[in-house]
Symmetry: C2
Amino acid sequence: MTRNNAGLSADRIITEALRIIDGQGLRRLTMRRLGDALDVEAMAIYHHFPLGKEQLFEAIVAHISDVSGGSPGDADAESGEVGPGGEDGAAGGAGEPSDSRSWDERLRTWALDYRRALLDHAQALPLFIHRRPDTEAALRTRELHYAAFAEAGLGGADAVQAAAALDSYVTGAVIHEVRANGLPARDPAVVDGRFPHTAALSGIELDPRRRFTDGLDSLLASLRP
Amino acid sequence: MTRNNAGLSADRIITEALRIIDGQGLRRLTMRRLGDALDVEAMAIYHHFPLGKEQLFEAIVAHISDVSGGSPGDADAESGEVGPGGEDGAAGGAGEPSDSRSWDERLRTWALDYRRALLDHAQALPLFIHRRPDTEAALRTRELHYAAFAEAGLGGADAVQAAAALDSYVTGAVIHEVRANGLPARDPAVVDGRFPHTAALSGIELDPRRRFTDGLDSLLASLRP
DNA sequence: ACCTGAACACCGTTCAAGT
DNA sequence: ACCTGAACACCGTTCAAGT
């Protein structure tokens, strides 16, 4: 009922936008709908994101990408949805208790956390193709990767190549996992005869997480100099 | 000037849609603009794609995904843009002159062709995340992969896993190659000190195609049983 | 069968105005 | 500083109508 000061903030907007994306899909995130969900006129959003929807999209990508890469145990839960809101802020400085795990263990943790974050917001994935977060958190992640590879004995172009391979792997694996999750299982009459290998292998399903970790292990092994 | 029968066809619509996407970006592909480019009222498109834009998007994904996977020599040209229109039709049956090259050579050719197709239409990449073509051509590609892996000695779950890894690799590598092509090269003052590894490696650029083939070779080697 | 024209229920964004 | 309200130039899609 109060006309002004609705308690809007960039964080609240991002969280609500993500809820709409996760629940209804990317195309249904409109400024008007987002405004409604925030109990605010759509135009109020422009006060926090003056550059409009594109700026909001970038903030969403940055938000999802901001996985801690820490906490050794947390990466094992195959939870469906993670509670929103609590993952920012704390422990932001440069003085974390420097990680004592091996370089590959740290990268494994990051990869699993990042995969989970992407899967939890799979509807937002199209935003990631032409956008890369330009934030402190993104820099921390890069530093984490390069530091790990340095410890593994990779420097210079080798480290850059390795980091690219790791990033490519997680992205590609998640997209493969998400792509057309329910393919209509093509008419077997068409398959019969002309596509014998495909027919023979149809119906084989692999545990997605297992496949991810297997591929990841294989990649990390191949990077070891 | 003639009112009716403008010579519209699904193929012409797809080609023109792709031209708009490549030239102006995905969001600027609208039914009205597409109609204008085709010298037709926007609503005419619905006669060829009754399910509307979503059906058009699926057709575009299928069109781009339809790389022959044949012609051993063609994959080496790092051409910027390939002439549209000529890549369908011919040699569609099941009776191609069965490929005599080794299994990994055939997969390499497919991967390079597919990478080129994706790069040539990078603006369409967001469409690929939640859509997988359900066409004969897609089945042919799957069969090609499984046949190659069978020849390599991989069967059952191993072949499925290998095909997934190959698909993931190409997708992930292309997206990495395309993602935020012009990052503004972050303020070096911020980088200084707190991110030493990142600072040390900044400015290192690798030849994208070389990186792709190196990673591909490494993947194929790791799949060999 | 193939395309048009008008109409409907939306969009993102600007801009002046309110408090 | 923070939000509203009206307005502008668009959207995708339906539906009846033309040829």
